[in-house]
């Protein structure tokens, strides 16, 4: 195809033109610092409050429970580090999973260097957290459970309600990284027993560089970024007014269109999965067959390596990903694929295609045709395939 086919919506999404429209006035016209006294700035404060309310409503939260950050990663760091510091007197143990985003995993490693203890819970072959192992891991010194809402690589949705219940039963705080889930799945923090939740605008057609942390009222938590009294003294730094407004707009649009978007994405997804699995041999679908993000697919093609597959698809104008975007360029195969039990060589040959409502059936068909061709070409080059054929 002449046109680019963008199938990497889990990495980032296009900022909707309506969102850009909503942000524009706040750059060169209404540019006042929201913390200022004069009227010119007061309107910006109001704009921030409106965006906060839209987001709070989308979560079933109170608007005073939503704090803007500069990214999903910052929200993840904040939830972990500041909770650890605030509850240090109670205990030094944190529980998370082996399939978290690096925003969680590397923060846990950092906290381990500071003397905190972290237990990494296993997942089953579908990427679902082992609940009994989670409950057993809780100790008197456990202060926080952080389990992602849905996985960014394989799309598996975790049993959040059950985790919330376990956390509540043992009086442990529960944080969830909902960066992939927010905007796609139905989330009510009160119903699900979530104490803290991270999200990021650029995964739902908002701009890159703005996120939020939901912090349930009553939770003691320190600041991560110290300074001015912005965000009610909890997150310092002059407010990014345009992006906050854009985030609000993106969430509003995402909520308004969710049902139709999700319906279309699932339709495309199922078609894609069916064709790939039936038409390309030695291929598996990673992640849970049913409990997965509407827009996520993740395949492993035996005998070939992911990066060369990506580049060849790129030459056919298809944007895709292998593992998470942040780790490409690194030599390690995805920690998520290893956690679900894939051997290294198969993990290396994985491909993530994540859809948006803007994709078409034609694009999907063209993509499958291209993958077939490329996988075939790469297998012909592969010494592993050669050995396999010989052995047969």
């Amino acid at each position: 195809m002449e046109k680019k086919i963008y199938l990497d919506n889990a990495a980032t999404t296009k900022t909707r033109p309506e969102v850009v429209e909503a942000m524009l006035p706040y750059f060169s016209d209404m540019y006042g610092n929201p913390s200022s006294v004069y009227e010119f700035a007061a309107q910006n404060k109001k704009a921030i409050d409106e965006a906060r309310l839209i987001i709070a409503n989308a979560l079933g939260a109170d608007n005073s429970e939503v704090y803007f950050t500069a990214s999903g990663t910052e929200a993840d760091n904040w939830a972990l580090i500041a909770t650890a510091e605030a509850y240090e007197a109670k205990g030094n143990h944190i529980i998370t999973s082996k399939v978290e985003h690096h925003g969680i995993l590397h923060t846990c490693e950092y906290l381990q260097k500071r003397g905190f203890e972290v237990t990494y819970i296993d997942v089953d072959e579908n990427g679902v957290i082992k609940l009994e192992q989670l409950e057993k891991a809780i100790r008197p010194s456990t202060i926080l459970i952080s389990i992602m809402f849905a996985n960014n690589e394989i799309g598996t949705i975790q049993p959040i309600k059950e985790i919330g219940e376990i956390a509540k039963k043992h009086k442990v705080l529960f944080h969830t990284d909902a960066v992939q889930a927010f905007g796609q799945l139905d989330i009510n923090v009160k119903d699900l027993g979530i104490d803290m939740l991270s999200a990021s605008a650029h995964k739902l057609n908002g701009p890159k560089g703005i996120g939020f942390l939901y912090i349930r009222k009553g939770i003691r938590i320190r600041s991560l970024i110290h300074g001015g009294a912005q965000e009610r003294g909890r997150r310092a730094g002059t407010e990014n007014v345009p992006y906050i407004v854009g985030f609000g707009k993106a969430v509003q649009l995402a909520m308004d269109t969710r049902d139709e978007r999700v319906k279309k994405e699932i339709e495309l997804r199922e078609h894609l999965i069916k064709r790939i699995l039936t038409e390309i041999p030695y291929t598996r679908l990673n992640g849970h067959r049913k409990n997965r993000l509407p827009n996520n697919t993740n395949f492993s093609f035996q005998f070939i390596e992911g990066e060369s597959l990506l580049i060849m698809l790129d030459m056919k104008n298809i944007c895709a990903s292998s593992g998470s975007a942040c780790t490409s360029g690194s030599l390690d195969p995805s920690h998520v694929l290893l956690a679900i039990g894939l051997p290294h060589e198969i993990a290396h040959g994985s491909l993530r295609l994540t859809l948006s409502h803007e994709n078409t059936m034609d694009e999907i068909d063209y993509t499958v045709d291209s993958i077939k061709e490329v996988v075939d070409k790469l297998r012909k080059m592969s010494p592993l395939y050669e050995d396999f054929v010989r052995r047969r």
């Binding site: 690096h102 390596e305 780790t327 690194s330 030599l331 290294h344 080059m381 592969s382 010494p383 592993l384």
Partner: protein
């Protein structure tokens, strides 16, 4: 991220395939690390490499370095082939990204492994050639450090 040369060799790899009854064949790397290279050599009685083929499981750089390495050794004597270093491979490709330089090492090793196999089969000793390591990656360290 890749040069034009790399992209050219990646999309149109030279000398890809197998040689039936090769004079020497060598396989290096491992699937765990994400790249495996196999080199087939056809060496005549004068010790000149008449033909060379490769198969590679690996990233774009791994495929391109294999391809260019076959070009660099084809027609050379065993002794001259031995002098094809990973640096020569990188230069011939107009450079590689730092994280990908290990691929060129792998290509060098693959040639050496095939030559070793040739030497063993023929009971000869090639001066300057050492027994290939089992796993070229073992000495490498993690490249990402984010905290």
């Amino acid at each position: 991220m890749y040069t034009k040369k790399v992209m050219d060799h990646f999309s149109n790899p030279r000398n890809m395939g197998e040689i039936e009854n090769p004079s020497g064949v060598g396989t290096v790397g491992n699937a765990k690390c994400g790249d495996i290279m196999r080199m087939y050599l056809d060496i005549d009685d004068d010790g000149i490499i008449q033909d060379v083929k490769f198969k590679t499981f690996g990233c774009g750089a791994a495929i391109a370095t294999s391809s260019i390495a076959t070009e660099l050794v084809k027609g050379k004597t065993v002794q001259d082939a031995l002098k094809v270093t990973n640096k020569a491979v990188v230069d011939a490709l107009d450079g590689l990204p730092p994280v990908k330089v290990h691929c060129s090492l792998l290509a060098e090793e693959a040639i050496h492994a095939a030559l070793w196999d040739y030497a063993e089969k023929n009971g000869i000793k090639i001066e300057g050639l050492e027994k290939p390591k089992d796993d070229i990656h073992e000495e490498e360290e993690d490249v990402t450090e984010s905290y």
